[in-house]
Amino acid sequence: MAAASLAASPARPRGGLRVLPAGIFLAFALIPIVALFTGGTYLVSLGSRVMIFAIAAVALDLLVGYGALISFGHAAFIGLGAYAVGILSVYGITDALVSLPVALAVSAAYALLTGVICLRTSGVYFIMITLAFGQMAFFTASSLAPFGGDDGLTIAARNTLAGFPLLRDERAFYYVVLFCLLGTYVFCRALVGSRFGRVVRGAKENPVRMATIGFDVYRFQLATYVIAGALAGLSGFLLANATEFVSPAYMSWQRSGELIVMVLLGGLGSLDGAIIGAAAYLLTEEWLSGFTEHWKVIFGPVLVLVVLFARGGLIGLASALVRRFARG
């Protein structure tokens, strides 16, 4: 029997949108070129910000979309990555070769320590306990008086990369972020289709069945939690460099909630959806907040409509349209 006919169903549930990832990354790659004509770096900075949150959203989709682990403390890991950059810079360590591994290690370690406890629970308890650990990080950061406390910490300059001030150029920084997002995406795509990812997805569908065929589901979920935490730490490292500022607000539960909204808005369990959701959320914020500071009053009902009428999020809506278009 040929290998093709032996292949089981694909890990990706949605058809019709195979070219979507290529389209997304092509669009991101072209933004700085478009910005050359509009002048200024506004578009480039906004694009960087979108991609930085997209990295964290893709990581969160691993947990929420593929593992049914609704983490309400994801922002804490972004904050930890950002604070690693900030605190190291206070001590004069400003090279990414040091600060990036530290950012990843700190957020992964916090994910491991808290995940060991959080993953003993499930459902609404899991949501509450991840929220609690997120808030713990938030209040700890708020009370760090030597590092700005509530007010946050201004970073003197962006990190160097092996001594070169590469990240200080807005366009170069943009492409570094794009490279990180692409790496995150490719890694997560491979992960969810791998043996490992199949166990995580199976545990989402039926944990009892997974245990009775011999899987210690907890170990797989913990590893996923640590991976997602580390990727959020990467996002935090980039965010600190983008804004040249770190603040406890990066870790607040509202920020964790926004990340969940991004993933839901784009569509759960597709990775592509997380990127689209992050873009849609941040661009809507940017656009609507130009009219009013109470922009969430408008955004709230839109989100309700998406959740009610487009269960698969924007990506579900798009693939339904593609299908209809292909048929009609």
Partner: protein, 250 residues
């Protein structure tokens, strides 16, 4: 009883005041098909759950392949070669039938911490999975999402998942539950063919199936073994007829 694959010693479990497993001693020999019959509420499923580790007994020991597994978690028992099916089909509805079985193969193969390579395309996993599906007559339906299979097919899939684990002992909790006459006959045929590859504990209400398959039958009533012996011996036992078989055989 040193040779028994499974040996339960004075197993005890109660839910509140209700004693569902009462000082139960029970064993299964290598390659034996040991059927457990009894009325609803006799504690059959609770017994299976205790053997597979989903329910912890209050007292007593469970020996599997000579090893005390009473305190082991479910997944560790599965790793030792204990497979089970569920009375209410317990499958991964969003996965194809093939992937349901391939996961069981993957579990036996170890190395599930691999994060590279598309698992769904691995011939080393899909080959044995296809063989298990063919064993139960589901080869044609391999690529259908398990949640969309017909009831009888889901029962067969449960069996294929258990087979793919290449178990030492297979616990079957009412594998024929809710299946039609033809499906039942087909499943009996499958089990008859597979019998002897491993030991089986079969809990079943369908007496035709039980008497066609069992090497030994134990009758469970109120958490105790009322009688145990060959099919012919159990059928003739007046206590069994009075307590259970009298109704069932009509």
């Amino acid at each position: 009883m040193a040779d028994a694959v499974l040996h339960l010693e004075k197993l005890r479990k109660s839910f509140g005041a209700l004693v569902v497993t009462d000082e139960l001693t029970f064993d299964v020999m290598p390659r034996e098909l040991h059927a457990v019959i009894g009325p609803n509420g006799a504690g059959k499923t609770t017994l299976i759950n205790q053997i597979s580790g989903l329910v912890a007994p209050d007292a007593g020991t469970i020996l599997f392949a000579g090893r005390d597994i009473t305190a082991l978690p479910t997944h560790a028992r599965a790793e030792l070669g204990l497979a089970r099916s569920f009375q209410v089909s317990s499958i991964l509805p969003g996965f194809s039938a093939l992937e349901n079985v391939a996961l069981a193969v993957q579990s036996r193969a170890g190395s599930s911490f691999r994060v590279l390579g598309r698992a769904a395309a691995e011939a080393a996993l899909n080959g044995p999975a296809m063989a298990a599906l063919a064993d139960v007559g589901l080869a044609e339906r391999a690529h259908i999402p398990a949640g969309e299979l017909a009831h009888g097919e889901k029962r067969a899939l449960e069996l294929a998942i258990a087979l793919a684990m290449q178990p030492k002992l297979l616990l079957l909790d009412e594998p024929m539950a809710g299946t039609g006459r033809e499906e039942t006959a087909r499943l009996v045929e499958v089990l008859r063919r597979l019998k002897g590859r491993f030991s089986v504990v079969l809990v079943e209400h369908d007496m035709t199936a039980v008497f066609a398959l069992a090497d030994r039958i134990s009758v469970l009533i109120y958490g105790r073994i009322l009688a145990s012996g060959t099919p012919a011996g159990v059928r003739a036992d007046p206590r069994v007829v009075a307590a259970y078989l009298g109704d069932e055989m009509e």
